[in-house]
Structure formats: C-alpha cells, structure tokens
C-alpha cells in the first residue's frame, strides 16, 4: 500500500505549534471570562473584608 505524499512542507519548529495552541487556549479563557463578566452574576454582590461579616459604620 502506498502513501500520499503531500506537496507542502511541515514546519519543523515545534514551538510554533505550541504558541498557536497557547494562544488559542488563552483566547478561550478570555472569551469565557468575558462571558462570565456579562452573564454569570449572582443574586447579590459578595465581598468579605478581613473576615468581617457585619459592618455598621466607622466607630
């Protein structure tokens, strides 16, 4: 059985492929974060400062 011989050259620089994949991963993370920022908020804000559950003004 023969094999097909392509009329193109494969890049020998393996890191080039890695860069592409990293860029793609970063891009999907960024997209998710953009989506989360726009659509995934909860029912109310949630912040906790220095383990304080209750704040009733500066004393």
């Amino acid at each position: 059985m023969g094999y097909l011989k392509g009329n193109y050259k494969i890049k020998k620089d393996a890191s080039a492929g890695k860069d592409v994949s990293k860029k793609s991963a970063r891009s999907s993370t960024e997209k998710f974060e953009e989506f989360a920022r726009a659509r995934l908020g909860g029912s109310i804000a949630f912040v906790m400062k220095k383990g304080t559950f209750l704040w009733a003004g500066d004393k």
Binding site: A36, R37, L40, G42, S43, I44, V47, M48, W55, A56
Partner: protein, 336 residues
Amino acid sequence: MKRLTKRQRDIIGAASLDYTGNFGLENAKDNLSLIKKTVIDLVPEKTGPESSAIVVSGGPSLYKQDPAVIIKEMGYKGTIIAADAALGYCLRSGLIPDYVVSVDPHRAFIMRWYGDPDLDKREKTDYFKRQELDLTLRGGEEAEKNRNQIILVNKYGPKIKAVIATSVANNVVLRLIEAGMDLYWWNPIYDDWDKPDSFTRRAFEMNGAPCMVGGGNVGTSSWVFAHTILKIKHIALVGMDFSYSPGTKLYNTQRYHEMREFFGEDKMEEGYIKIWNPYLKETWFTDPTYDWYTQGFVEMASKADCITYNCTEGGIIFGKNIKWIKLRDFLKKERS
C-alpha cells in the same frame, strides 16, 4: 470544566456587583421611607453555646429529603430560617419559619415565592416550566398556584419576621407588608466600604442599616444572619446544594440559557463542573455561578464563629468547620 480559579471567582464577583450595585441602591432609595427597624433590633432569643438553627434553602435536595417531616416529627424547638425560595415549601409542609430572608433586587423573580399579585402582567418566560426552584410552582397552572401561594403567605405572614435587604425591589417589600410580616432591614455588603464612592457606604449613610455579607445568594445570606445577628452556634443546612444531582437535565438548570448561548447546545455539558461528593459517593455537577457561591461559602464557614452542619444529603458543600451529618442526627442532640 475545572473548578473556578480565584481570578474567575473575582470576575463573577464583579459581574454580581454590576448587576446589583446600582440596582440595589436604587431599590434602597425606594425603600427608605419603609425602614423602621433593622436586624440589630432583633434580640436573639435562644443564644448560648448550644443554640441552634436550621437554614432552609430551596435547592433540589429539599424536595428529595423533605426535611419538614423530620423537623416536625422530632419536635425541634430551635430557630427556623427560610430563604425566600423555600418559604412555600415550609408553609405547605406546616413548618412556620421564624424568619424569611430576601436579598435579590429583581422585581419579579423572588415575588413568585410570596405570591405575585401582578403575575399576569409579567413578561412571559419559560421560568416556571423549566427552572422554578419551588417544585410545587413549577409546571403548568401558574395562575392557580400563584393564587394559592398568596393565600398561604397571607395566612402565615403575621407570624414570620422578614429579614429583608434594602436591595429588594419595593414592589416585593409592599407585598410582604400586605402579608402582615414584620420587617427587619439590612444592607448587603456590595464592596469595600473604604473605597471612594463605595456602594456599601452609600447605602449605610442613606439608611443607617447595618451591612452584612450576602455571599452572592439568599441561602448564604440566611446563614450569615444566623450566626452574625442571632449569634447561633450550631447551624444546620437543608436544601442548600449549589449544584445538581446526577441525572438532572441541563434544561432544568438555573443557567441553561446562558450556558447554551456560550458553549453551544452540543458542548454545553463541558461548561458544567463535575464534583465528587465523598460522603454520597456520587458525582454532582454545578455551574460557574454556583461554584462561586460554594467556594465562597466554604471559605466563610471556616472562619465563622459557629459550626455548620450540612444536612442536605446532597450537593457539594463540604470543608473545614462543616460537619456532614443526617438531619435526624443533628436533631437528636436536642439543641434548642
């Protein structure tokens, strides 16, 4: 999808502030003339090292476990705090909570749990059919179910204290007053009160109500109220899952539309987070917002001046200072 990173949690926190900051403060202005008492005016009746409370939330395990039966059977004498989504379940089960808690600023969604006098004027959505937390209200015959809910809440309202955030929409507040509830107010902590133009500080300076950590959701707010205001030392959770049991259809999850929009119908399952529950020996799944709730809750529980007992027999809330036990075993200790 993996569990959220700190950065991702911060992003969802920022999204929550986007949604609730201005909206909550506007509602607080509308509510200003109605603020007569705050949660500070509540004198804890059952304090001390053996004081206990049960926080009833509206997650799916509530309907699977039906905890009201056990609570009534064992004659529990401690404090019952219902998140608004669980109020209907409690009342239909003959369990009258001492307190009901609300925090979400939306004008329509939380109104359903008190019975919505203007239901026919609301925008038509698939909410009731697809994701309503109160399973009795889910499905058809919305108008009749809503009428029954109004009757039920009106009947028992005068016996229940409402622990109401100033962020709650004014139409919901008026409904609670109509139902005869006594209102005790608090401001949600929106942000760092020391930062310029802080929402938290503006709310406090406007109405003087104390500011309490909301934890992103009403179930967590109820738990914070229990140990911060009522000084309860042993707090059991029922119906607080922040997740979905194995086999739940994605269609019935709380953020189905959002997840489908981003991930696509074919890949949306990948957007959910699978979490192994070592107590149940089951894998539950959750969405990013619920994971944000969960990680925040577990972190707070580790710092709180109380012991938390997860009696849901479901879900993904476990960690330091959280004991996983059956509700019956919690009640056997006969705390009051």
